[in-house]
């Protein structure tokens, strides 16, 4: 513990860096998967193409993606952008299936009623379909969030893993305390992110207090 107090500045700086590097993929991945998920829930062809493509990306181990992306993006190999892009792709892959489920979970009768009441396509999406899909979207987003926060530490091997730095540094110094603190702070950060999402859900989806259907992503979240 004395190590923590002596290095609190470093740990907090790494935690902040971790929050940013994990936060961007979570937000961008969620936003990007909404239109794609909506498209995939409407069209069988789009669903086949999108799910297959992202399944392939999802299957590629994180380290491999971190290394291949510079060749594709033209970035430097140790550029944090590679990590952010890789995690965003994983977040999209996980979230996309959840979004397809979420939009599919909205009853067709409800949508037909909305159309009968005079809702246009866009109006129906924003005011009927999206709010009703909300609880399932949120449940999946929570899984994506936790997975992304814990996965980011692997990126320490390519120089930008936030708290993952404590793992590589602790290993080089054979110092167990530093690694334990890295694990504890990563888990704490994941819990904070989760609490924020739950709170946002309470505010934005006040009607969904009852238990909602479970996210597809639950058994999936990836580790490396």
């Amino acid at each position: 513990m004395s190590w923590l107090w002596a290095n609190l500045d470093l740990v907090l700086r790494l935690t902040a860096e971790h929050a940013v590097l994990a936060g961007i993929p979570i937000v961008v991945g969620f936003a990007a998967s909404l239109p794609l998920g909506w498209l995939a829930s409407r069209s069988r062809v789009a669903r086949g193409i999108l799910l297959t493509a992202f399944n392939v990306v999802y299957t590629i181990p994180a380290l491999a993606l971190f290394v291949v992306l510079p060749g594709v993006l033209g970035t430097r190999i140790l550029d944090p952008l590679n990590v952010v892009v890789a995690l965003t792709l994983y977040a999209m892959a996980m979230m996309l299936r959840g979004a397809v489920d979420a939009f599919g979970s909205v009853s067709g009768d409800v949508l037909a009623s909305a159309t009968a009441q005079g809702f246009s396509g866009a109006g129906r999406f924003w005011t009927v379909q999206l709010p009703l899909a909300g609880p399932v979207l949120l449940a999946n987003l929570r899984v994506v969030s936790v997975s992304t926060v814990s996965l980011l530490s692997v990126a320490a091997l390519v120089g930008s893993g936030g708290l993952g730095y404590l793992f590589t540094n602790g290993y080089q110094r054979y110092f167990v305390d530093e690694i334990v603190i890295g694990i504890v702070f990563t888990v704490l950060l994941a819990l904070v992110f989760d609490a924020i999402l739950v709170l946002a859900g309470r505010v934005l989806l006040p009607w969904s207090r009852r238990r909602t259907a479970t996210p597809r992503a639950v058994v999936e979240g990836r580790a490396a």
Binding site: V68, G108, A223, A224
Partner: protein, 252 residues
């Protein structure tokens, strides 16, 4: 793109496949690590998952375990175990690495087995009992075959995790395809890192493809994969399986 050309040239040169540090040896080691870990995890997780699914007891534990496992940074746990192994006089042995890989593979297998049995329709279970089946017969002849697609999905998910994590294990252990990557980063040899990336990605895609076929083959006729899945406009049918464990990815 030159990097990729060089990397492929290296991989396609048979000379690089031979020897103790060749692609062949490292591939074999990567596969052995993966196989042993998934097998050990299955021995623990599958019977337990089937039992939990059959009795309905302990599902809160399954949900808790899968959730907690997801929050743990695997890379940190891996290094922690290896350091503890060194402190307890094991030296740099495989033990700690395999232990972490097993721990990592348990949650998806457990969830797959549990969710598979749980997803079996109550009516089917009642019908089997009404025909005079014992609980054992019910489990082995009805619930297990119907659970196989989701169980295979859990196996697929677990294998994927272990292959990926065995790659980062190269940072703390010898052998495995991850070595190319680690060597490449340490010596700033980008081509070498790309070689590792290509090999690991191909291995993961190949294993995933094989297991997807297995999953298709074990699906009993008349059962759609991921039977609990809600599709299209059908409202979710209230059932025992409304809990927090869902089918692993079944789209192939």
């Amino acid at each position: 793109m030159n990097f990729f050309v060089d990397a492929f040239a290296f991989i396609l040169d048979p000379a690089n496949w031979a020897g103790d540090a060749g692609i062949g040896a490292r591939l074999a080691r990567h596969l052995a690590l993966t196989g042993v870990s998934v097998l050990l995890a299955a021995v623990v997780a599958v019977p337990l998952g089937l039992l939990i699914g059959h009795t309905g007891r302990g599902r809160a534990a399954v949900i808790g375990i899968t959730g907690a496992a997801r929050a743990l940074p695997t890379f940190g746990v891996l290094i922690l175990f290896v350091l503890l192994g060194i402190q307890f006089g094991q030296g740099l042995s495989e033990g700690p690495v395999i232990a972490v890989l097993v721990i990592l593979a348990i949650p998806p297998l457990l969830a797959g087995a549990y969710a598979g049995v749980e997803a079996v329709d109550d009516v089917t279970v009642d019908a089997a009992r009404a025909q005079g089946m014992t609980e054992w017969q019910l489990l082995t002849r009805v619930e297990l075959p119907l659970a196989l697609p989701l169980l295979a999905g859990g196996l697929r998910s677990a294998t994927l995790q272990v292959v990926a994590t065995a790659t980062i294990a190269a940072y703390v252990a010898q052998g495995g395809l991850g070595r190319y990557f680690i060597e490449g980063i340490q010596t700033r040899d980008y081509v070498r890192a790309v070689i590792g990336a290509i090999l690991v990605a191909l291995l993961a895609l190949l294993l995933d493809g094989i297991l997807a076929v297995v999953q298709r083959l074990v699906t009993p006729r008349g059962v759609s994969r991921g039977a609990t899945r809600t599709t299209g406009t059908t409202a979710r049918r209230p059932s025992r399986s409304s809990g927090a464990t869902r089918a692993p990815v079944t789209e192939g």
